[in-house]
């Protein structure tokens, strides 16, 4: 500690308080003699205190410094060297033995109390922080169920334009939409929450994908319709997406992404805050990026809904199974955002094994029809565009609900 100060074994670094010294104090080397302690200051002066004529005290900033005083307190030596108390006991041969032990024990007790106090305090602080965090998170979890569906709808409404610009244009075909809506109508009465306002958008994209926006807007990509093997497989995808909506996975995902901030908003019921955060999260590509647990949850809930609605949930397994083998020009987006199908198949299979057997019925429209309607719709878009041009030229009010559309719709209504 003190460079260049080589001390003998029985010499300790310390100091002296005395009015005889200029400034009242000085650093000193303390030497333990037979009858007392000798302090030699750095200026060479020597002071002596006899063992029989002294008071011992423990103190200083560390609480470990030994003070060695004359009875009239005119002269004080101090030393912080850890070896000093033991050496003092040995040198003073009995005279100070008990006094040293007493002050050391008192010092240890005090240090122990303050150390325990500090740890208790830190532990309380940590517990309060952890407790607060989990309290808010748990609060948010149950509070999500209390958040009205309109919040989900507001988030979807705000995010929809950017979602569409990212994935492609909507195919405006009321017939096709009705066909998909028919699947939803059949499943909806068996979903976890009622009164969800489902809306179907068919997206003109080769990508094999489907996704749900919060609040019930379900985007079905043309690529998915072209790829599925049966109407039941398509309905399995739709049941899966509906489950994301009814299980409020979006809000959970938002509260996970934005973390504690969103959780607090949700707990205190700050709807405007949730919508703003939710829109931001959905726009920063968190859309459709559910956790593995949520995917399995949506599979199981989807399978349960299908089973309850009388649709064969086996289609869910076929769909999960067939997608990886599909040879397609479009990317398998739905799988890339819905990974690990083996695990998920296992989970659904287990549900099926445990489910009560019942008879299943088929949906009464076939995929080929839907595909044809979509092809027609593409053509219709061109025709409509031409007609619109004519109408605009004739300065007529634009009314597109034509008779042909109604006619076509009749043929493909699905049975509830």
């Amino acid at each position: 500690m003190f460079d260049g100060d080589l001390l003998d074994d029985d010499e300790f670094p310390g100091g002296v308080f005395s009015d005889e010294i200029d400034g009242g104090r000085s650093g000193a080397h303390l030497r333990l003699g037979d009858r007392g302690i000798t302090a030699r200051t750095s200026e060479g002066r020597e002071f002596v205190i006899g063992y029989s004529d002294c008071d011992l005290e423990l103190g200083g900033d560390s609480g470990r410094m030994v003070f060695f005083r004359t009875a009239d307190r005119s002269l004080t030596f101090f030393c912080e060297d850890r070896r000093f108390p033991e050496a003092l006991k040995r040198a003073a041969v009995g005279e100070l033995f008990e006094q040293v032990d007493q002050i050391l024990a008192a010092g240890n007790r005090q240090r122990w109390v303050s150390r325990v106090g500090l740890w208790v305090m830190l532990a309380v602080c940590v517990l309060v922080l952890i407790g607060g965090y989990y309290g808010v998170v748990a609060g948010a979890k149950s509070a999500i169920e209390a958040v009205p569906m309109t919040v989900d709808e507001q988030i979807a409404e705000a995010a929809l334009p950017s979602v569409l610009s990212e994935f492609g244009e909507e195919i405006e075909s009321p017939n096709a939409v009705d066909a998909v809506q028919g699947v939803i109508d059949r499943l909806a009465p068996h979903s976890a929450i009622q009164g969800v306002n489902y809306q179907v958008l068919i997206i003109d994209s080769d990508v094999v994908n489907a996704l749900a926006l919060p609040g019930g807007t379900i985007l079905v990509f043309r690529g998915l319709i072209d790829t599925m093997d049966s109407t039941e497989q398509l309905s399995a995808v739709i049941a899966h997406e509906m489950s994301h909506v009814t299980l409020r996975h979006h809000l959970r995902q938002i509260s996970r992404s934005v973390g504690i901030v969103a959780a607090v908003h949700i707990v205190i019921g700050d709807v405007g805050g949730i919508v703003a955060l939710g829109t931001e999260v959905l726009q920063t590509a968190a859309l459709n990026n559910y956790s593995q647990g949520q995917e399995t949850e949506a599979d199981l809930e989807g399978a349960r809904m299908m089973h309850a609605a009388g649709l064969d949930p086996q289609a869910m397994i076929q769909m999960l199974d067939s997608l990886p083998d599909a040879h397609l020009h479009g990317a398998l987006s739905w799988l890339s955002t819905h990974p690990n199908s083996d695990e998920r198949i296992k989970a659904v299979q287990q549900f099926l094994d445990e489910a009560e057997p019942r008879d299943y019925s088929q949906l009464d429209f076939r995929l080929e029809e839907l595909r044809r309607i979509l092809d027609d719709a593409q053509t219709e878009v061109v025709l409509n565009a031409e007609r619109n041009d004519e109408e605009a030229a004739n300065d007529q009010p634009a009314d597109h609900s034509s008779d042909e559309e109604t006619d076509q719709r009749d043929g493909i209504k699905s049975e509830d």
């Binding site: 500690m1 003190f2 460079d3 260049g4 100060d5 670094p13 310390g14 100091g15 308080f17 400034g23 009242g24 104090r25 000085s26 650093g27 000193a28 750095s42 103190g59 200083g60 900033d61 560390s62 609480g63 410094m65 003070f67 004080t76 101090f78 912080e80 303050s114 150390r115 106090g117 500090l118 305090m121």
Partner: protein, 234 residues
């Protein structure tokens, strides 16, 4: 008081300036940015001093990890150090003993002095002045600064100083953080847990304390109402 280097502290007490005369080969160590002026015979070297533990200790004590070394290796010369805060500067000669210094108050020291941080435990937690104090020990000269002027007190027995006014004290003194005697119980709790008014350090034993004549927090509270606040044009 004797010293290893020749020095002068001028412009006291408002804006104390430390001028140190170094003989050929002598060194002085100072916090970065403290040097205001120096003779060209002196060279400056920046570096971490005293190993990882001491360096981290200093950093926790509110000082820079880097310490600048000024060496008069091309003949004797003068270095002038200006502390950051408006206030006085103090010289203290360490004689094999230890001085505890408030966070950030260190300016410079000579060879033979070790500067590191010392964990204050519960005391530091409650004082609101940081968990770590600077600890200077060894044999040599130490320069530290205050905010405002400075009073040197020689304590025997007990003495109470508001934690915001303590600059330094010899380690022969023990201290406990306490609330002002006479404060009501509610006030005590508030002080303890929210660092409010009336937190004091109760010193006991024998040794010197340096007390500054202004506290930064009190000054900030005083100046706060006068700050230019943006007006809402709507």
């Amino acid at each position: 008081m004797d010293s290893d280097v020749q020095f002068e502290i001028s412009q006291r007490p408002d804006f104390g300036l430390i001028s140190v005369q170094l003989e050929q080969g002598q060194k002085i160590f100072a916090e970065p940015s403290a040097m205001a002026a120096m003779d060209p015979s002196i060279t400056l070297k920046a570096g971490l001093k005293g190993g990882i533990r001491k360096t981290l200790g200093r950093a926790l004590g509110g000082e820079s990890m880097v310490i600048n070394t000024f060496t008069a290796d091309r003949g004797s010369g003068e270095v002038i150090f200006a502390p950051g805060a408006p206030g006085d500067a103090v010289h203290y000669h360490l004689d094999m003993n230890t001085l505890m210094v408030q966070r950030g108050a260190f300016v410079a020291h000579t060879d033979g002095v070790e500067l590191t941080g010392k964990w204050q435990g519960a005391k530091g937690f409650f004082s609101g002045k940081g968990l770590v104090l600077l600890q200077a020990s060894g044999t040599g000269d130490l320069f530290f600064n205050s905010y405002g002027a400075i009073l040197e007190m020689d304590v025997r027995g007990e003495y109470i100083v508001d934690t915001g006014y303590v600059v330094a004290f010899e380690n022969t003194l023990n201290y406990q953080v306490d609330v002002l005697p006479g404060l009501k119980r509610g006030g005590k709790l508030k002080s303890f847990f929210f660092g409010g008014e009336g937190l004091v350090a109760k010193f006991s034993g024998q040794g010197k304390i340096w007390v500054q004549t202004r506290a930064v927090n009190s000054f900030l509270t005083w100046v706060y109402p006068f700050r230019p606040a943006p007006k809402n044009s709507n």
